[in-house]
């Protein structure tokens, strides 16, 4: 990081197995963050609580937060990418649908 740049945005890696981490503060476009020894640049402005990938996630692979799958990657996700509705698909079988089928 060069002189005059803003300090790195803090990341919260909730579980050692997670391939995403959570921003602990708001990030502007071009902000940087650190995960271990790696410096990651954040491509879009993101609010606190949003997630970025800290490992490459192949299409179809589990997205892991809290050490557990929160869905799967709808396409390949690169390190540093915002992980959200556009590239994560819920694997959860919605209970409402199951109920509707029983009627």
């Amino acid at each position: 990081m060069s002189e005059g740049e803003k300090p790195a945005v803090r990341l919260l890696h909730l579980h050692r197995n997670d391939n995403v981490a959570v921003l602990m503060q708001d990030a502007e476009i071009g902000a940087t963050t650190r995960h271990g020894a790696r410096c990651i640049s954040i491509p879009t402005a993101l609010g606190m609580g949003h997630k970025i990938a800290v490992a490459p996630i192949a299409k179809g692979a589990d997205v892991l937060k809290y050490g557990a799958p929160i869905g799967f990657a709808a396409r390949d996700i690169a390190i540093g990418e915002h992980v959200h509705l556009h590239n994560v698909t819920s694997r959860y079988t919605v209970i409402e649908d199951m109920e509707a089928g029983q009627r």
Binding site: R10, L12, L14, V22, L23, M24, Q25, L46, G47, M48, G49, H50, K51, V63, K65, Y66, G67, A68, P69, I70, G71, V83, H84, L85, V88, T89, S90, R91, Y92, V94, I95, E96, M98, E99
Partner: protein, 400 residues
């Protein structure tokens, strides 16, 4: 940090970390008399609980029996109006059988409000003096039953407070303690993830069923789950949202499902299923955080971890409530009401393990002279409403 934990040994072998006299009304009509009796004593000496009645309730009876024989309770003053539909003789026998002093005042037979208050105050005064002389015995973490709840949640709850509480739970379970988590209505979407932690196949199916039941129940009540606001806050799926609440349970194996007023059959980690079986009958399973805290206590919780983001201030009758504040701004605003500042994780000043350790130390400290902020402020909230009693979940307890 070393703790010299100690408590009061009860006849059933459980040990209490508090030694309170309960002043319990058996119908709302006797509530005022109880409040006036308790007024002569400190918050730690006498506390008011009760069931508002007046229709018969198996659930209300079970809850009152469990609460009046809770390990933190040393003696019970029951106050009846006289004509209510409550099986007070059964309750009294249940308390007597537990070895606790119990006294019943029936207002209609005692000459009214003033005489009932005088009689009750005199009896409670004797019990307070008696309990003060009662010797304490050594306790260890394995004697503890700890509940956890989140309320007044915000985006920080699932990031700091809940996972930190989970770390504390993992340490307690490893110590041989008993830990209780809830709320199946907030676990919708992660029931399969939770079920993977069941310690046997029967329990695995039961855990999934308990969440499906909650989903049906809340939907029948017209209550939704995943919102646009959740997505704006960074949550992408229902699994992710539910995992934020589920993180309170930690990583240990799950040993069973409990129903309100049911004692855990052994040490380990249990889901408290607060949603009644069958269609909604009396409304929401728990109308507020306090009703939920009281159900955790009814299963024997010595203390309850309460994770809050927006900033709840409640405590409880019977058992201390340890407030873990997930949001650093809330902590700054409500510091006097909070015990643990989990928001330091967001400020980069502490890790989840650090805060989990603080929660663990604070809980053990409650049996070594420590008190919670809500206790110091005199909070002794209590709510007990109508609910359908649920039968114990069959086949999902570890073999004794």
């Amino acid at each position: 940090m070393t703790h010299a934990m100690s408590g009061w040994l009860r006849e059933d072998g459980r040990k209490g970390i508090r030694n309170v006299v309960l002043v319990a009304y058996l119908v709302e009509c006797a509530h005022h008399v109880c409040t006036r009796i308790a007024r002569s004593f400190s918050d730690s000496e006498a506390q008011v609980i009760g069931f508002s009645g007046c229709f018969p309730s198996r659930y209300g009876q079970d809850m009152m029996e469990a609460l009046c024989t809770h390990p933190n309770v040393g003696a019970v003053q029951l106050v009846s109006l006289g004509c209510e539909n409550f099986r007070k003789a059964d309750l009294m026998r249940h308390i007597e059988a537990s070895g606790r002093p119990v006294n019943l005042i029936t207002i209609q037979n005692t000459g009214g409000t003033r005489a009932a208050i005088a009689d009750g105050t005199a009896w409670v005064r004797e019990q307070v003096a008696h309990l003060r002389q009662m010797p304490k015995v050594a306790m260890s973490p394995s004697d503890l039953v700890i509940g956890t709840i989140c309320g007044g949640s915000d985006a920080t709850s699932g990031l700091t407070g809940n996972p930190a509480a989970g770390r504390a739970f993992d340490r307690l379970v490893a110590d041989g303690a008993t830990c209780l988590f809830e709320e199946t209505g907030e676990l919708i979407g992660c029931e399969h993830i939770m079920a993977a932690r069941a310690d046997n196949p029967v329990l695995k199916e039961a855990l999934i069923r308990s969440v499906e039941k909650a989903s049906r129940y809340y939907r029948a009540m017209g209550y939704g789950s995943f919102s646009q606001g959740n997505a704006t806050g960074g949550l992408s799926t229902i699994e992710e949202k539910s995992l934020g609440a589920y993180a309170k349970s930690g990583d240990s194996l799950i040993n069973g499902i409990l129903r309100p007023a049911e004692r855990p059959p052994g040490a380990g980690l249990y889901l408290l299923d607060v949603v009644p079986d069958g269609p909604p009958t009396f409304g929401f399973p728990n109308i507020n955080d306090t009703a939920e805290i009281v159900e955790l206590i009814s299963c024997g919780a010595h203390a309850v971890i309460f994770v809050t983001g927006r900033g709840s201030v409640v405590g409880s009758a019977i058992s201390p409530v340890l407030k873990v504040c997930a949001n650093p701004r809330t902590y700054a605003a409500l510091q006097e009401d909070m015990d643990i500042n989990a928001g330091r994780i967001l400020d980069g000043d502490a890790t989840l393990d650090d805060v989990g350790g603080e929660i663990y130390d604070a809980l053990l400290g409650l049996a070594a002279g420590g008190t919670t902020a809500s206790e110091d402020l005199g909070h002794t909230e209590f709510v007990l409403t109508y609910k359908n009693a649920s039968a114990p979940e069959p086949g999902c307890h570890p073999a004794a």
